[in-house]
Structure formats: C-alpha cells, structure tokens
Amino acid sequence: MFVLTASVLGARASNTARRAGTVLVTLLGLLALTFIIGRVMPLDPVLAVVGPDADSSTYDQVYRAMGLDKPIWTQFGLYLNDLLHGNFGNALLTGHPVLDDIRRVFPATIELATLAILFGIVIGLPLGVCAASNQGRMGDHVARVITLFGYSTPIFWLGMMGLLVFYAWLGWAGGAGRIDLAYDGMVPDVTGLLLVDSALAGDWEAFASALRHIVLPALILGLNSVAYISRMTRSFMLEQLSQEYIITARVKGLSRRQVVWGHAFRNILVQLLTVVALAYGSLLEGAVLIETVFAWPGFGQYLTSSLMLGDMNAVMGCVLVIGLIFVALNLISDALYTVFDPRTR
C-alpha cells in the first residue's frame, strides 16, 4: 500500500500526455508520408473510375470531383478535416465508406491471425525452450530445422501444397474462402468472426465448416511465427541459462525442469511479450499471399487491391488502422510489463 502524492500523480499525467502526444505525432507523420507517396506514385485513381477509354472531358470532370486539382497540402488538410469528423471517405473499390469496409474485412484477418499466433505460441515457445536447454544436441538441431523451414519456405508455395494435400487429396481441410458456400450468408453477423458468430447462433455445422476452412491457412500462416518466436525464445533462454542464479538453483537441488521453466523461462516472459506482440501485429497487417491462395477476404487483400487501384482513401484508412494496431499492441505490451516485471512499476 502506498499513497499517491500530488507529485506522483502529476508525473503520471505528464507521462500519459507525453505518450499521447507521441502517438498523435507518429500517426500524423504516417498519414502524411502515405498521402505524399500515394500522390507521387504513378497510379491514376481517375482511370480506375472512368476506364481507360474515357474521353478527356469525362476524365477532367472526375479528376476535379476527386479534388485532385487542388494543391497536395490542401488535399491533405481536407482529408484530415474529414478524418477528425469521423469520415474516412469512400473507397473506389466498393463504393462504401472506408470505415465500413475495414469493419467488414478486419474480423476475417483477426480470426486468422489470432489462430495463427496461438499456433506460433503453443509450438514456438516450447520449441525455443527445448532448443536452448539442449543446446548443440538433437533437440536444438531439430528446432533449427523447423525454424529454418518456417523462415525460408515461401508461404505461397506452402499454401498451395497444403491445399493440394489436405484439401484436394485427403479432403480434411476446407477449400478456399472462410466457409463452404452452402453456408454463405447463413450465419448472422454479430462480431464478424465466423467461428464466434456460428457458435453464438448454435449452428455447429457452420462452425465445423468455418473451422475446417481456417485451420489450414492459420497453421501455414503461423509457421513463420513459430520460427520467429522459437528463435527469440532460444536466444533469451540461452542468456538466462548462463546466469549464476541458474547454477545456484541447480546446486540447491532443483530439478532441471524446475530450473528451466520455473526460473529461466519466467525471467524471459517480459521480453517474449514484445516478441509476441510484434509477431501478432505483423499478422494483423494482413497476410496478402495466404489470403490470396485461400481466397480469404481479409485486410491484406483489401489493402493490396486498394493500393493497385490507387484508391488513397482506402489505403490511408488501412495505414491508420495498422498504425493504431502497433500503438495499441505496444501499449498493451507496456502495460503487461508492469504486471510481469515489478521493477517497471
């Protein structure tokens, strides 16, 4: 128990304000940079609207209607003004407000990325610990081969092979898409997460279909996270296992398992939080290749399609979301630091 003095409260408020300021400046910088890149890259959003055979009067009309005749900073100012009023603009691709589109595609990616990161954690952590505690021995070599495979195998190829073996040959996995077409539109949209929505609706056949469709892409997507998490875990663990307190614990008669999991592993949890947060963040950005192979209507596909069209409203909206994801994950990771590491309190 301790009393919060005025000076402590003041310091905390100042710290929070400073952090909020940093976040705002970061997001603003990110938006400005994306906006400029979008305007200077050789993509013409007008052509996407009018088609390549339109005459000049049509082209000019749409060019003006899209505000492209205004100076770039005026365009950016107008965009920010709309943004502050909660208006992200409409997407060329869908004609819908960008925010609605993101709300629609993001759950598909969250569902996939969450399952993938769970796979990464469940396999990657023990693998890294096993590799570190068996350094130079068979366990370490096996882990190295697995991580090398995870890092170096093209995910596109792996996706195709996965589909060929587990979908086409064995018939275990679902094919492309999030659910069998027979269930398309049958599950009430509550959270956008098909597994959750079908479970909430008590539609277990739809749940099984959604599960069958998500397991394979999630496993393949998670393979890279397995590699990353296990390599980082191994590295952190090796550092801990060479510390004197480990020898002391062993001398005191603790079993090898108790020392590895009870002492060394607990001490690397804080570092691992950052690793997992970063891995999850990159999965949430959208796994374009895996989404393409599995026809997964997610965030990555949406962002890529928008980029190819030069649809800057959609691209800016997506960039902002990605920025917010990383900011949020950093904040969560910092908050968890204080839980797991008393020194940071």
């Binding site: 009018v50 339109a54 005459d55 060329l92 275990w172 492309a176 027979a182 539109g185 393409t292 026809a295």
Partner: protein
Amino acid sequence: MKTQRCKLHMGLLAAVLALGPITLAQAKTPADQLIVGMSMVNLFSIDPANAPGLDASGVNANLYDTLIKRDHGNPEKHLPQLAERWAISEDGKQVTFHLRQDVKFHSGNPLTAEDVAWSLYRVMKLNFGLATTWKAYGYSVDNIQSLIRASDTHTLVIDLPQVMDPLLLVDSLAISPSAVVVDRKTVLGHEKNADLGAAWLVTNEAGSGPFVLTKWSANDSLLLTRFDGYWGGAAKLKRVVVRHMTESQSLRLMLERGDLDLAYGMAAPDIRAIDGSDKIQVQSLPRGTMYYVAMSMKQPEFAKLKVREAVRNLIDYKGLDEQVMPYYGTLNQQPMQLGLEARLPDPGYHLDVTKAKQLLAEAGYPEGFSTTIRTLSEPPFIDIAARLQSTLAEGGIKATIVTGTGNQVYGAMRARNFDIIVARGAERYPHPYFSLRTFAYNPNNSDDAGLPNFQGWRASFFSPPLNNLIDQAGVERDAARRLSLYQQAQTLYDQQVGPIMMVSQMTDTVVSAADVKGFTGDDAEATRYLGVYKQR
C-alpha cells in the same frame, strides 16, 4: 501427464475424424445453384452509367435488360428483347421502338419508355466513360432529352443528331453496357445530392433482368437470386454464387474437387492440365478485344514507315499464336475482328529478321536502336512482351521491358508517353466501324486535342485519307458500298503500316464441371445465366 497427453491425442483424432466425412459429403455443389469462381478485383461498380469493366458487364447482363440484342453476333441484325419491334424512318434520321407491355422491374414497377429515355439521359448527365458511345453520335446532356423521348408509355422515339448510318446506333443499343434500362423510380428514391442515384447504384441494382442482386461483398462474394417474375420466363437456376478467387491453382483444385461449377480467368498451364478430363469442360468464348503491339509515332524512330515495317517483321506471329496465346486468343492481324463480313483475310505477316534488318538499314538504323516496351506484369502480356523483346533483339533493336498495373500502362498510353506498348483494347463487341474508329481513326493529332478514347490518337497515327474512308463508312447506308469502304480502309492501314499491330483476338476460356449445361457465352462477356442448368 500421460493421461492428459492421451486425452489430447484422442481429442485431435476425434476432431479430424469429425471434420473429414463432412467435407467429403459436401464435395458436390447444390443442383439448383451455380458456384462460380473468378477474380473480382476489377469489379468495383455495377452502375450501368459507370461500369466499363468486362466483369461488371458480365454481372449486369444478368440484372438488366436491353431493348434489343444481336442476332448471333451479327452487328447489322438484331432480335427483340424489351422492344418487341422497331422501325427506321425512310430518311434514316429516326428510330422508333415499341416496347413489351408485360415487363416489370425487380421492384415491381412496370418498365416504360420513360425509363428507357431516362436511363440514357442519366448516362449522359453523369458523363462517365460510357457516355463516350453516345457522344460519338452527337448526343449531349443538353439535347438528349429532346432527341430520345417517350411518345407514349411503351413507345420510344430516337432522333439522330447527325447524318449517320442508323444501324450503328441500333447496334449500340444492343451492346453498350450503358444501354441497359434502369428503374427510374427506384433509383430516384435513393438519390442523394442530385446524383441521380449514382452513389447507390455503384453497389445496388434496379433492373428487370433474370436475376436479382441479393448480396455483393466486394472482393469476397456475390449472390444472384432468380427473379421469378422475369418476362422471358424464370431462370433454371435458383442462385448463382460468385466467389472472389484470384489464384488459378486454387480454382483448379476446387473444380477438380467438385466445390466449384465454373471458373473464369484460369491460367493457361492449369487449363492445359485439366483439359481433356471427362469431369471438366473447357469452352473458348471469342471476344472483340484485341491484343496488340503499338508504337508511338511521336518517337522519331517509329515515325518512319520503314522502322514500323521492320518491327512488323520482327513480331513472331506464329510463335506467339502457338506458344503464348492458346487459351488467351486467336491469331488476327487485321484491325477488325474475326468472323465479320467486312474483314479481309490476314495479310500474312510473319517473322522475317533479314527483311527487318534491311528495312532498318534503309531507314538509317543499320545498328538498330534502344527502346522500351511497356506492358502489364501478367500473362499473356508479359509473355508477348518477352517474346517481342527477343525477336526485336534479333533485328538489332534493344528493348527494355517496363511492367506495371493496367492503370500505369494504359495511363502512359493515354498520355502519349511511351515507345512500344503491349496491351489489349478495342470494342468488346466485334464491329467493323468501331474497330476501325478505335485503331485507325484520329481526327486531330495535336496533344491539346485530348482524344485518348481513340487509340490512333494515343499512338499519334494520323491519316486523313483513312479518316475520310471511316467517316464515309459511318454514314453509308448501302450495305455493299459500306463493305467496300471497310475493306479499302484495311488495305490502306496495311499500306501505311499503322503503328498499332494486332497479334491476337481475345478469347475467354471458361472451365466448368461437365454437368453444367446451357452455358454458351453471349456475343461478348455479357454472358447470361438464364439458360444454364445442371444435368444430374
């Protein structure tokens, strides 16, 4: 611990066993539904006033109706649709359409001549790319309401604003994606800021076609449901489900597994791999669009006739047709589509490196020169460009390939900022007049004229005698004389070595399950699912 592991293994095994049989049992698609896989990347507006893309036309053909349609692809013969009969006045300045009286929109509103007139007015008022078709005939937003009007509930009168062959206009009413009829009352009910329902119609429909748009989730799936009140009789299929799939091998696997009925846009190697299977049928649907190699005559090298002729001799037409274009296109060297009566036979251009070198030397380039080829980074464009790069090099022309998206490649061409381009273009429906207008016509060659809708202008090709021949054909009402004019224009284009050199005419290859029947493909990508069914 062992017990826990055992439980875990048993759980996993149970899950696998539980999932497996369900998958196998559902490997066949429902008998009354058509499951289609295709890329929907280019499907971002289905507003008839602004849906120039091929994919959007394919969707709208099922949601909307036109007044008439072509009779087996003949641009001068038409069949009734919404109009049960029509008449062209003696002087050729007026066309009168008499509409069916039993047509209802999906909303239940009756379809009237007023809806037809308003649909065309809407296209002109919004002035997107598809308005170009009607502008070419002399219509404008100011005159269209007086020139295209309903004389009574089911009679539409169209006056021609300029001297021209009225059959051209009649044909445009059959084939233009903007010639479909929208439900005026429904659209105006969704109008915002006097936009004539433009924002709403991007993702919604107000048609009278054989299917209703039930759901469209961009880059995900699209659902068409049968319209039981269709005037031409209800479709045989209850639903058509289109799933966004960009990966050709995924399409192939799903077709083989029986989870897909029909796939568009598969890559040639995948089609080749399953062509011949008794479970699959492969259909080639001819399209009007042409693959071509175009040179910009703004570049001093290509302004010279002999250099253009040299390039023509460095295109390996036969090699491209046999090795690159199977499943993508059919050899065609004329600026006019195969099967048209007005089309002359191929002139027989072929790879002749010796002649090309001689021509280059005569043009003042004995050592060749360097240039660039712009093209899309996808097959068959990139493959045509690579083959061209190789044969140009044999003649001494060193070409660097610059790839980009369609937006970037066509953008550069529209801006007349290119050397050589490998691209695709032309009217989607074969027509002698419009093909020649697209490739060979250029009324004003100045940059300021801003005529990117003419590909001849984009390539800076300017030939007054050719313009004159095309203009004459556009107003000639005598069929024999018109035919002669079209043929003279092709001969002149050949003699002048036009810079846009056709290499192939596009075909769409559609792969479907063997039990899918009645899918014949229409004159263009406006393929209707009205008569499609499954024979099980």
